[in-house]
């Protein structure tokens, strides 16, 4: 159990800056998900916490103790890797016990801890198998077992579910979350999958280009994205964006539609509305040149372009719409679902 504090942490490889100063305070037992596209520096940040990469600048502290110069083994952490990184020549029992063996924990204690972890993860029947004789999900469990037998203060997960198929991913997602909350261990979890981030995180860090774009609870990020990037990255399908211009508290979109907005800002903006917040309305401000209709079962996605422009947007309609029907043409949204971003900086405008 511990807090984790990351202060103005920077990383550069040679002359290339990869992380430009990320700060976050993580409280005891919190589950933090770092989410971002590939190459945004999320794994590098995690690896710096793990001690696998050096910290170029800034400070990482676990439970108040600065660990910048400590070896990974001395940081009291455990990590789960994307490809599981199980030792192929050892069986499950040996894999889970290896860290304890190196730490010279007596064999009896070792066996006890491994058995307890195996029971928790339903691995008891597989203890004598080699990793190659296990399925992907089981290997993932062994990797987690290896992490929990060491009873670390911080868990680190590096895209642990990326190698699993979709169904198993959903199941393991729940298992990891359940395990973490029952153990109450502070966790840092890296993923590029926004669904994982939304469902698992107590708070998430949305990273882009080596910067933390937003740090907040999943719903905060969803409802009040702090930047254009966060708005686009979280939510599926992605938020629709329309170019516009604000003058005298009036937003004028490219297609000529005008809307009253309550902001003091004036100048070019990006106006964002999530597809699920649009609904058909005869007098709506958004008129669509319908492209194609994708019924997904529970909902239907209708793709098209803003009439008279080449701005693509998507509407998420409830229920099933016949893909061969002409589809609805005009759409409206509630004013509180409109997000405004500065066209130059991408920062959200306060409303």
């Amino acid at each position: 159990m511990a807090t984790l504090s990351i202060k103005q942490v920077k990383k550069s490889f040679g002359k290339t800056d990869v992380i430009h100063g990320v700060s976050v305070e993580i409280s005891d037992g919190e589950f933090i998900v770092i989410v971002g596209p590939s190459g945004c520096g999320k794994s590098t940040l995690l690896r710096m916490v793990a001690g696998l990469e050096t910290v170029s600048d800034g400070e990482i502290a676990i439970d108040g103790k600065v660990v910048n110069d400590l070896e990974p083994m001395d940081r009291d952490i455990a990590m789960v890797f994307q490809n599981y990184a199980l030792y192929p020549h050892m069986n499950v029992r040996e894999n889970m016990a290896y860290g304890l063996k190196v730490a010279k924990v007596p064999a009896a204690v070792r066996a006890e801890k491994v058995n307890a972890a195996a029971e928790r993860l339903q691995l008891t029947d597989y203890l004598d198998r080699k990793p190659r004789e296990l399925s992907g999900g089981q290997r993932q469990r062994v990797a987690m077992g290896r992490a929990i037998v060491r009873e670390p203060s911080v868990f680190l997960f590096d895209e642990p579910l990326s190698n699993l198929d979709a169904k198993l991913r959903v199941q393991m997602r729940l298992e990891i979350k359940e395990l973490q909350s029952s153990l109450g261990v502070t966790s840092l979890y890296v993923t590029h999958d926004q669904v994982e981030a939304m469902t698992m995180a107590d708070r998430m860090i949305v990273m882009n280009g080596g910067r933390a774009e937003q740090i907040g609870t999943p719903l905060e990020v969803y409802e009040k994205p702090a930047s254009l990037f966060a708005a686009q990255f979280i939510g599926s399908p992605a938020m629709n964006l329309f170019r516009g211009y604000i003058e005298n508290q009036t937003l004028r979109l490219d297609n000529g539609a005008t809307l009253p907005v309550s902001t003091e800002h004036s100048g070019p903006v990006q106006a964002g509305v999530r597809p699920e917040h649009l609904y058909p309305a005869d007098q709506g401000p958004l008129d669509m040149a319908v492209g194609y209709i994708e019924p997904l079962g529970a909902t239907t996605l209708q793709h098209g372009k803003l009439q008279g422009t080449d701005v693509a947007f998507t509407v998420c309609l409830p229920g099933i719409v016949d893909p061969n029907s002409p589809g609805a043409k005009r759409f409206d949204f509630d004013n509180h679902h409109l997000h405004l971003f500065d066209a130059d900086t991408g920062a959200a405008l306060s409303r």
């Binding site: 696998l52 990974p72 952490i77 030792y87 020549h89 290896y98 860290g99 190196v102 190659r132 290896r146």
Partner: protein, 286 residues
């Protein structure tokens, strides 16, 4: 029609199967014939060998010839030479494996100044066979007083660029995450080497052991140079030493028995290790 065609296919396949077998058996006979002759020659008397026609079936002197070879030989008992060869071959194989495992580990896992230079230095020695560096090596070994010793037989031959290179290539295929997982588990470099790297390399080690054992066993020039004492002769060079100089009569049955005996240990190693490294191959992870 269709059935006829299909039987035709089967017939053809059967015929080609027989043909390939016949060819293979013919090839094996060609390769095996000299060995058979050597075996026959080791079971007859001196007189029977020297007078034509050459015998093609084993005679009754098997035990007499082999016990003579093993216990007295020509210059020195073959048993002594076999033991010498065994010590040398195992020494070379094990030494080469240990040295190349360690040097490959250093080259792959540690960043030190001149790492690339060292790698290329090792790599360049690949191009220099024993014969090229034999004179300076002899000087060094003689200077250390290692003539007629096992150390002198083994040490100059245990540096192996080939094995180092092979292990380097293998180590580079070990995923980085495994190294990192071991670091997180608290394993320091040598612990990682012994607990993870060596067990993972066991397939390669088994395969290399077979190759290197045979390499060591078949050393001819080097033992010939540095062993002057018949007690230190290895079997491959020992056979040559058995040939008479001048007017002495060669004891062919004993020489042939020695040749057959010289073949036994490599065959045993290949056959027994083959099982091990095939199992290793099957066992190796995905």
């Amino acid at each position: 029609m269709a059935t006829k065609e299909s039987t035709g296919m089967v017939e053809k396949r059967g015929r080609s199967l027989w043909l390939t077998h016949a060819l293979m058996i013919f090839g094996v006979l060609i390769v095996f014939f000299p060995i058979w002759l050597a075996f026959v020659a080791s079971t007859v008397t001196q007189q029977e060998i020297t007078q034509p026609p050459m015998p093609l079936l084993p005679g009754g002197e098997f035990f007499a010839n082999y016990s003579k070879a093993l216990t007295s030989g020509v210059n020195v008992p073959v048993l002594t030479m076999l033991i010498n060869s065994l010590i040398m071959a195992i020494g070379i194989a094990v030494g080469k494996i240990i040295i190349s495992l360690l040097s490959a580990f250093a080259i792959v896992y540690f960043k030190f100044p001149g790492r690339t230079v060292f790698f290329w230095l090792i790599f360049i020695t690949l191009m220099l066979p024993v014969e090229v560096r034999i004179v300076p090596t002899y000087e060094v070994i003689a200077g250390f007083g290692l003539l007629n010793t096992y150390s002198g037989l083994i040490f100059p031959l245990i540096a192996s660029a080939t094995a180092t290179f092979l292990f380097r290539q293998f180590f580079m295929t070990i995923p980085d995450e495994l190294t990192e997982a071991a670091r997180l588990d608290g394993a320091r470099p040598m612990r990682f080497f012994i607990d993870i790297v060596v067990p993972m390399s066991r397939t390669n080690i088994a395969a290399l052991f077979v190759i290197l054992f045979i390499y060591g066993w078949n050393q001819y020039l080097w033992p010939l140079l540095i062993t002057t004492d018949p007690e230190m002769n290895t079997i491959v060079m020992g056979i040559k030493q058995m040939f008479p100089s001048g007017d002495d009569v060669a004891d062919w049955p004993v020489i042939m028995a020695t040749s057959i005996l010289a073949m036994v240990p490599p065959v045993v190693i290949v056959v027994s290790m083959q099982k091990l490294f095939i199992r290793g191959l099957v066992d190796s992870e995905k």
